[in-house]
Symmetry: C2
Subunit: 219 residues, 2 copies
Amino acid sequence: MSPAAPAYRRLSVEERRAQLLTAALDLFAVRAPEDVSLDEVAEAAGVSRPLVYRYFPGGKQQLYEAALRSAAEELKLCFDEPREGPLLARLTRALDRYLAFVDGHDTGFSALLQGGSVVETSRTTAIVDGVRRAAAGHILRHLGVADPGPRLRMTVRMWITAVEAASLIWLDEEKQPPVTELRDWLVEQFVAMLTVTAGRDPQTAGLADALAAAPDDRD
Amino acid sequence: MSPAAPAYRRLSVEERRAQLLTAALDLFAVRAPEDVSLDEVAEAAGVSRPLVYRYFPGGKQQLYEAALRSAAEELKLCFDEPREGPLLARLTRALDRYLAFVDGHDTGFSALLQGGSVVETSRTTAIVDGVRRAAAGHILRHLGVADPGPRLRMTVRMWITAVEAASLIWLDEEKQPPVTELRDWLVEQFVAMLTVTAGRDPQTAGLADALAAAPDDRD
């Protein structure tokens, strides 16, 4: 490894790569990607700049996309909840994880979702879309619907976008209201949106009835 | 004017500029911006390529941003509704105009809002954000709230994002359900979202009561 690295033991290739990604994500989390330099990533990881280039020959763009992919995997896991217990309690736990991620990656999360970043490309957009699709897939599976119709799918995708928007506004409003209130409000919005769709769509109506009948032990 | 232009009368500078913008918008409406060439814009407007450059020396990027700004002005007007008659009827008319715009500019609308376009920059993002802010401002003024609190503002902004998301999904789903059903469903979602917030916010509760009490003569 590079003599500039103050590591006390040799890291494996995977460990080093993970270490560089973590350092990059920490920086992208608090500053917009265009304001982060490779030198800073190297410094934060305690390695030399050439070492960063050895792992990411494509430079900052490649490092940013890799960090984004790693963050996207983490975000996808938020909605990967065991299919046990009341539905709304599961949704509440998923939102807790999602909002904790938003809280911990605020600047990077805003920069990415608000677009217009100089390092944004169709590939980064595809990564973000992948998170949205994964979240929608998880929710539809939890709802236990094998073949969701267009109205139900639209409602779930719309709620996911609404959660994203609310998260960005929440960051913008100095994280007010408190995160638990935001979370409960988002769960209530989910039920309200499904209920509206239920008035026009028999498939969703069945789900809304089941949700209303289920015990709600969120607290 | 350029001798290559087959115009039967001289257009004023403003008229020529407007004609070029209209030709550009028509092309950007049906194809992603990166797939539109300046030659095509010139051909559609029936002018020479140098003439297009005379009006837009910055080339396609400048033309695209100008076309976008013109589209943004049109979109902002959608929510600029006289403050007369029941609130939900006003919202319905605004959505009719907005969805007609989405219908008429489908590919360009998707390309822009989904991001990742090669011609997307922080300036184009700011233009799109300006439309969202204008729409939120119009809605809050219609609601008659002088000093909207964070919970009410978040709800209105969240609904606007949800409308955008629903519009994109609607384009994606081959414009199903029919536009009038989509419109009425979005109005109902607005009421439902406000009602949820009303449970936690006295300011919104007052509005929700007024909405419920008002006659609904949307049809």
